[in-house]
């Protein structure tokens, strides 16, 4: 009675989609009960299969039916009381409460995420590309904050405790057998006096804050303040140098894991959906609309966006068709032009590198000067790097206009050039610093202490100061650009209209260049973390303030971009570029740990030949069994079977992936076959109905001649 009514209602509402529902139906349900009934298998019982109890719930929610029908289904399910044992019913209720708890936890976690509402607003008004920049910034803030906890817990707090507690802790030089040799006097090498002498002018404090010298130099901020204490008291043993080193190494590993975890989810989706190029038109049209757009303005903008995107893709296709039909001579001309322009852009980048190198050397020569001029000389490398990073991409953009690549290729090439420029400019800075410290040119000065102790009594602090200055300068430049360039530009464009302002227009929020700024800042922090342990905290504050600054400039000064940036592929791209920065910092770390001689006058490694020596030294103090065990782990007897095992796992996973790919192809072919069968059958039906139609018309004619009843 009621059931039949519901069945009829279901079929009335869904008859067009009846066949389509097959795809949504769960595989386990039989298709036999599929008469004209509703879009759900009434015959199935909820206890089929040993899955957890949440499955029937999922089934109900996931049915594209109106509420009335879903309620009826639920009643039917509940009416059918299955025969379950106590154990099964207890298990089911437990599973239900677990899933409810999980949903509540997810909801709670989601609603407390940092800046969630702001990000939603940004995404709605400016699109997914700009939103991905802010998501990336949030990720970096959280990463730096967590790293700070790591460093604080293992290095900073023990250091503070050891410095302030009574001397029941032993302050010992760890294993003094590592001194270079007894003939050489080490007095000169250990001379280091960072405290300011005499009367200090008040504004000197401000300059010290900006450059990391003076009162900041001998403080917890930089490497030089930490001692090589090995604290021992009744069963508690804490080796600070070892902790310092291992914390730094672990910090790098932690950052790598976070980045890869974040990239993993995005990559999984990207790999599963295959290359983005195929099916792009359907994708734009079917999935392009953002239903979160509110307001007429945002909607019109989105429409303009999509219109532009479609026109762009269509034009690119037309260009490709045209390019495929170029003559040989034209192709040769085009490629030679491209090679020539590539050479020019590489030359430009090379010139920028040379300028950075020279300015760093010059700045190191001018060290020790006071006052404003001294500050300028100190900041000279940062100034040159920033200027280079501003000018060279601009010129490269102009060059790219002549290269006649397709628009998407142009963007990618421009980005790679900028990434290259930024990362390697940082590398050049580091290289010039290192060459000064370890005397690549003038070997005389470094003979005594294995490093340039005259200019750099505590060279690690110097390097830390350089990184600190880079970070600070980057932040100040961003704020200055905001105040001095972006706001005035908007005021000019809004209130004074002439040909120039109309041509310049309101600025656009350029996502790629902003992201590069973030990646560069993070790479600087990674490089400097060994020498300036508080740098992650400083960076957290910097990025935190930067978020609000960028938000303000976005909403006040920017017009939404017409060219969009695809959000998922861009997330992966940002993380890949971040990994480049990480790799560069890792190279610097390894070189510093393994090759450079630590300064003998300061820091936790002052009595060792290299920083890494602390690990083998501590290793040999462990018990014999532990040493043997660890040697075994590193020996061939262990690593070769491990290697073979991982190869086997790799082969298995590759085989699985290829099997899935093949089954996808098979299913696609099956679909094509089914379509062809359907067309054939439809044609047959048409033919038959035509013949039947002719017959029935003849029959009707026969009857029509009779009298109507």
């Amino acid at each position: 009675m009621e059931l039949c009514e519901l069945q009829r209602q279901g079929s009335a509402g869904g008859n067009s989609y009846h066949g389509a529902q097959q795809s949504i139906r769960l595989q386990s349900m039989s298709s036999a009960s599929n008469q004209n009934g509703p879009l759900f298998n009434w015959a199935s019982s909820p206890t089929e299969g040993s899955e957890d109890e949440s499955r029937p719930l999922k089934v109900l929610r996931g049915q594209p039916l109106p509420m009335r029908l879903k309620r009826a289904l639920r009643e039917v399910q509940q009416m059918r009381v299955p025969l379950v044992t106590d154990w099964q019913s207890w298990k089911r209720s437990k599973a239900k409460s677990v899933s409810r708890f999980r949903t509540d936890a997810n909801v709670a976690l989601y609603s407390t995420a940092l800046w969630r509402k702001t990000l939603l607003k940004i995404g709605g008004q400016f699109g997914g590309g700009v939103q991905s920049y802010f998501l990336f910034l949030r990720f970096l803030v959280v990463l730096n904050f967590l790293s700070f906890f790591l460093i604080a817990g293992f290095v900073l707090i023990p250091s503070i405790v050891f410095k302030t507690t009574s001397p029941s802790n032993i302050t010992a030089d760890s294993n003094g057998t590592n001194l270079i040799g007894s003939d050489w006097s080490t007095e000169d090498c250990t001379a280091y006096d960072p405290n300011p002498q005499g009367l200090v002018i008040f504004y000197q404090y401000f300059l010290d804050l900006l450059s990391g010298t003076g009162f900041m130099e001998y403080s917890y901020v930089f490497y030089g303040y930490y001692n090589n204490t090995v604290a021992e008291s009744s069963g508690f043993h804490y080796n600070l140098p070892l902790a310092y080193l291992l914390t730094c190494v672990f910090y790098f590993a932690f950052c790598l894991v976070c980045i890869i975890a974040r990239m993993g989810s995005a990559l999984r989706v990207a790999v599963a959906t295959g290359s983005g190029a195929v099916g792009s038109y359907s994708k734009i049209v079917f999935t392009g609309w953002d239903y979160g757009c509110h307001g007429d303005q945002a909607t019109k903008l989105k429409q303009k966006n999509i219109h532009y995107q479609l026109q762009l893709d269509l034009e690119e296709q037309r260009l490709q068709n045209k390019a495929a039909s170029l003559t040989l001579g034209q192709t040769v001309g085009l490629y030679s032009l491209r090679v020539f322009l590539m050479v020019i852009s590489i030359t430009l980048i090379g010139v920028a590198f040379f300028c950075i190198f020279r300015s760093t050397a010059f700045s190191q020569e001018k060290v020790g000067e006071t006052g404003l001029l001294g500050l300028i000389w100190e900041y000279l490398p940062s100034i040159v790097i920033t200027a280079g990073n501003f000018v060279v991409p601009l010129l490269c953009d102009q060059i790219a206009l002549f290269e006649k690549y397709s628009p998407s290729t142009t963007i990618i090439i421009a980005l790679f050039r900028s990434v290259f420029l930024r990362m390697v400019s940082l590398g050049v800075l580091l290289f010039s610093l290192w060459s000064k410290i370890t005397c690549f040119e003038d070997k005389q000065v470094c003979l005594l202490c294995q490093y340039n102790h005259e200019d750099y009594p505590c060279w690690e602090t110097r390097v830390g100061q350089e990184m600190y200055k880079l970070t600070l300068f980057d932040f100040l430049i961003n704020v200055a650009m905001l105040i001095l360039v972006e706001f005035p530009r908007r005021l000019l464009v809004d209130h004074w209209s002439c040909a120039l302002t109309r041509w310049v227009g309101r600025q656009e929020f350029l996502v790629p260049y902003n992201v590069l700024g973030l990646v560069y800042g993070q790479a600087v922090v990674w490089t400097g973390a060994l020498f300036c342990p508080l740098l992650p905290l400083i960076n957290t504050l910097k990025f935190f303030i930067l978020f609000y600054c960028k938000k303000v400039t976005l909403f006040s000064n920017c017009r939404p971009a017409v060219k969009t940036f695809r959000s998922t592929t861009s997330t992966i791209f940002f993380l890949v570029v971040l990994l480049f920065g990480w790799g560069l910092a890792l190279v610097a770390l390894i070189y510093s740990l393994a090759q450079m001689h630590p300064s003998m006058s300061c820091g936790p490694f002052r009595s060792l030949t290299t920083m890494w020596r602390i690990v083998p030294d501590t290793f040999y103090t462990l018990s014999q069994t532990t040493q043997d065990f660890l040697f075994y782990m590193g020996s061939q007897a262990f690593s070769i079977p491990l290697f073979i095992f991982s190869c086997v796992v790799l082969c298995y996973v590759t085989a699985l992936a290829s099997v899935y790919g093949r089954s996808v192809d098979l299913l696609k072919a099956e679909l094509k076959m089914a379509g062809r069968d359907k067309q054939f059958l439809v044609k047959q039906i048409e033919k038959l109905s035509r013949t039947m139609g002719v017959l029935t018309r003849d029959q009707e004619d026969m009857y029509d001649t009779g009298a109507p009843n």
């Binding site: 949903t103 979160g292 303009k304 999509i306």
Partner: protein, 189 residues
Amino acid sequence: MGTTASQLGKDLLSEYQELTFLTKQEILLAHKRFSELLAKEERSLPSPRVPMEKILSLPELKSNPFKKRICHVFSTSDPKDGSLTFEDFLDLLSAFSDSATLEIKSHYAFRIFDFDDDGTLDGRDLEKLVNCLTGETEDTRLTSEEMRQLIGNILEESDIDKDGTVNLSEFQHVISRSPDFVSSFKIVL
């Protein structure tokens, strides 16, 4: 069964929680917003129905180019006028919610795009769809040449069985390869 006065009963609330993808707070908020659309005397009715014009005055739907189609798809009224009861409204929000599955979103997206309700997306449906996406005014439409090129490309990419239309399975195949769909097919009050 409908809503009583201005409060939702606890049983009804948990039932809605089971039958939709919405959380308790979302259901209560939906109830509040829906009651605001009703005239005072209608609020005490067992199952009030809000006409389409009032639904379209919601800020989340007001400027959506698919607003009329959305109302038509979720409406359960017999004269097919796009009016929604509270439960239709909940179905709408459930399909557009954060936690709805890809299957249900793609199913409803297909129905929204099927302008003539015949179960497949043919050339005319696609043309109307593209016009909705780019805007209906003259300067934002694609030229007929571009439109032809675009529809040809779409059919070439998504029509697997080559019958000249895109059916639900083909549509879902395209959707499943787009990672942004689930996050963009979202309306949150």
